[in-house]
């Protein structure tokens, strides 16, 4: 099976350690992984801000870059949802009449990292070791659009040394929302502050999620509020070992 990694522009540029963790983890699980360097961005920022008519090159670029792989794996819930839900919509109104067929060919092969491990590889114990008290925040797109369900927590429960604690109000949005955070900074901060308060109240050391965008927002607030907590991408926890 040829697995193509879609690391996403945010991870690539700001969180390369998440991408490295994904590579380490999947290779440890026996996959042959490849990072096609022609990849850029899924177009989510443009789409969600109202510039969706301009993402045709990004949609075509994604479909063509990943056409030859058996599976495409991404560690970002919102980018995965963008591809699954909105690339077909964008392709349907594109100038290129063949784009819809190319998008339709690649979309069913796109998996969130946790889906790929649990559903395709059939594994929940990935052999990780992470001796910390952790809360999992199911980001809105991971939970509602991708429907990851309990896959992330099933993986976390098998991590040795890890104590998973429930996050009150876990289903509530952290308030990032891409450009929402810029256009409505006060509401965004208020939402994020509540998320941080709930997380800090659990006494956990680490908050993890399957999307670095939300973690950037939550982690940024934790930093300013000096909660002593930190944020870690789920892939990094699953990739860590005792040695």
């Amino acid at each position: 099976m040829r697995v193509g990694l879609f690391i996403t522009c945010v991870n690539d540029t700001l969180y390369p350690r998440t991408g490295r963790a994904v590579v380490r983890l999947l290779e440890r699980l026996g996959c042959t992984v490849d990072f096609p360097t022609a990849q850029t961005c899924c177009g989510q920022m443009h789409w969600n801000t109202g510039y969706g008519k301009r993402i045709e090159p990004m949609v075509a670029g994604f479909a063509d870059t990943f056409a030859g792989y058996d599976a495409v794996v991404t560690p970002s819930g919102s980018c995965g949802a963008m591809i699954r839900d909105n690339h077909p919509r964008a392709a349907a109104r594109a100038a290129d009449p063949g784009l819809s067929a190319r998008v339709a060919a690649v979309v069913p092969k796109v998996y969130d990292l946790t889906e790929f491990i649990v559903d395709v590889l059939g594994v929940t114990d990935v052999g990780a070791y992470f001796p910390h008290r952790v809360v999992y925040h199911p980001t809105c797109h991971s939970r509602r659009l991708l429907g990851l369900g309990d896959r992330p927590t099933a993986l976390l429960r098998e991590v040795r040394g890890l104590e998973l604690v429930d996050l009150p109000g876990e289903e509530e949005c952290c308030g990032f929302g891409g450009t929402f955070a810029v256009k409505n900074p006060d509401v965004s901060t208020a939402m994020g502050a509540d998320k941080v308060r709930h997380a800090a109240g659990t006494g956990a050391e680490v908050l993890c999620a399957a999307d670095n965008s939300c973690l950037m927002h939550i982690g940024g607030l934790m930093d300013r509020q000096r909660t002593g907590m930190r944020v870690v991408h789920l892939a990094e926890i699953l990739a860590s070992t005792a040695g």
Binding site: D34, G50, V182
Partner: protein
């Protein structure tokens, strides 16, 4: 141009939200109220094993009706007329208000009692009647609180949700005498005492009123029957006691048959008040000699709705049955309350309905209206609870496109263009990453321009020394899986470190 269902002079959402967010009492009231009702809703919805099917049926009935709305409306008109009612068509708010004012004047009365109705607020009926010397009395408890307090509604179902008991008591003590029966001496802020004060105040109103004005939750086309669903029974008093009844109804409220109505009478109470069945369901069909009003008028209101109908993505907003479930789960509404939306329709449904009713696609709306499609983090909680499956996030994004096409914001447009230029080609992305990595010590910890407010409350992430792609190429030396298409000439000098780009 249709009349605005908005509050005059409201600032754009982000500005209005700022003061709401910094009001701890308001946030406390809202959090408590919305969480109570959302938990109740979740509980009773969870009891039904066929909720998903009911929801799909509700959406399908509404879609089918909207596709052939003209036919169903004509059928409803014929049925109402056959039952002895009179049907009036109003293209916009001004026309509807004039029709109602003329009808009231023809009775010789100068007072009307009102059943809680969103559509009469949308058209500003009370104010229009006041200008004609006609006083409209709200009879729903929460509407009464808003009216006595000279306040604006902030929730579809609970217009006074932003008020607590102490504030309500104070409003009653101060204002009731001005409008009729005064508050009893020594009124406490116990819910039962407040309800009793309202009951006494309203009873006099019901017994003296000759004319009532209502909206309707549904209009059944096959028999011309109107339906009001409510919890207090005040609506039923207004619908049965007066001599003349005038119902103002949006054209999207029609349902073809009684069998269709059955679906909505299951969906609505569970979604809105978290009850298995609503306490009062009143239905009226034309006039019946010796029973109820002697004169019945139905005003069918368009006010922008046919324009919404023409938009194949946006029209799903017309499925809305005004249950307010989307408000109660919305994390943005929970922190800002309804006033920040500047409209009688707040929350997620307001954010997609108001811009459409006001014509955001024409690019001629004010900044307040244009700010509404952005008043969401697109978390999807509203879509999840909506009993008629309106994909509110989809419509929000669709409306953002219309705002952008109508001009958008200059700085944002430039930023998006620049980002496109970078993302349309992997080599350019790599160049930008490297420039950022090399100058990372020089980058400010406060974002420039429109991002400044964001970074004021959050620490920005540090730019790492090496991007993932640089790491991958150095570690694996792998050539790109797909040879990049012939690149356009970049307008900046090719970066020296790009040599291992193959």
């Amino acid at each position: 141009m249709t009349s605005p269902p908005t509050f005059l002079g409201m600032p754009p959402f982000p500005e209005a939200a700022r003061s709401a967010v910094s009001n701890p009492q308001l946030r406390h009231n809202l959090r408590k109220a919305t969480h109570t009702i959302r938990d109740k809703r979740a509980h009773v919805v969870g009891e039904l094993s066929d909720w998903a099917e009911l929801r799909a049926a509700g959406a399908a009935i509404k879609d089918r009706t909207l596709r052939r709305l003209d036919e169903y409306l004509l059928a409803a008109e014929a049925a109402v007329a056959a039952a002895g009612g009179t049907v009036h068509w109003a293209a916009d708010a001004a026309e509807a208000n004039r029709i109602v004012a003329d009808l009231v004047r023809a009775t010789g009365e100068t007072e009307v009692v009102k059943v809680k109705s969103m559509v009469t607020q949308e058209i500003g009926l009370n104010e229009a009647l006041a200008a004609e010397g006609i006083r409209a009395y709200e009879t729903d408890l929460a509407e009464l609180i808003v009216q006595l307090g000279d306040d604006l509604p902030s929730h579809i179902l609970v217009p006074a949700i932003h008020r607590n008991r102490a504030e309500i008591r104070e409003i009653f003590v101060r204002e009731m005498a001005e409008w009729g029966v005064p508050a009893p001496p020594g009124l406490s802020d116990e819910p039962a005492a407040l309800a009793e004060a309202a009951r006494r105040h309203l009873r006099e109103r019901f017994l003296s009123a000759k004319v009532a004005v209502s909206g309707a939750n549904f209009l059944v086309a096959e028999t011309g029957t109107l339906v009001v669903v409510e919890s207090e029974g005040n609506g039923r008093m207004c619908l049965t006691l007066p001599e003349t009844l005038i119902s103002v109804v949006g054209i999207e409220k029609v349902v073809p048959t009684w069998a269709d109505l059955e679906v909505f009478l299951q969906l609505l109470p569970r979604s809105s008040t978290g009850e298995r069945m609503n306490p009062y369901t009143s239905m009226w069909t034309g006039v019946t000699p010796g029973d109820g009003p002697r004169d019945f008028h139905l005003v069918l209101l368009d006010n922008g709705r046919t324009d919404v109908l023409a938009d194949t993505t946006g029209r799903q907003a017309l499925r809305c049955i005004r249950c307010s479930a989307c408000l109660n789960v919305c994390p943005v509404y929970e922190r800002t309350g309804g006033h920040a939306y500047g409209s009688v329709y707040p929350g997620p449904i307001g954010a997609i309905l108001v811009p459409q009713l006001r014509g955001v696609a024409t690019g001629k709306v004010d900044p307040q209206t244009a700010s509404l499609p952005y008043a969401s983090s697109l978390c999807g909680a509203c879509y999840e609870v909506c009993p008629v499956a309106i994909d509110i996030p989809e419509v929000l994004v669709h409306l953002r496109e219309q705002v952008v096409e109508g001009g958008g914001h200059r700085a944002e447009r430039a930023a998006m263009r620049a980002a496109e230029w970078v993302f349309d080609d992997a080599k350019r992305l790599r160049t930008v990453q490297r420039v950022a990595a090399r100058s990372r010590r020089l980058l400010p910890r406060r974002a420039p321009g429109p991002g400044a407010a964001w970074s004021d409350s959050r620490a920005l992430p540090e730019v790492p020394a090496q991007s993932f792609r640089d790491w991958w190429v150095r570690e694996r030396g792998a050539p790109p899986a797909r040879p990049p298409a012939a690149p356009a000439q970049p307008p900046v000098e090719k970066n020296r470190i790009e040599e291992d780009d193959r």
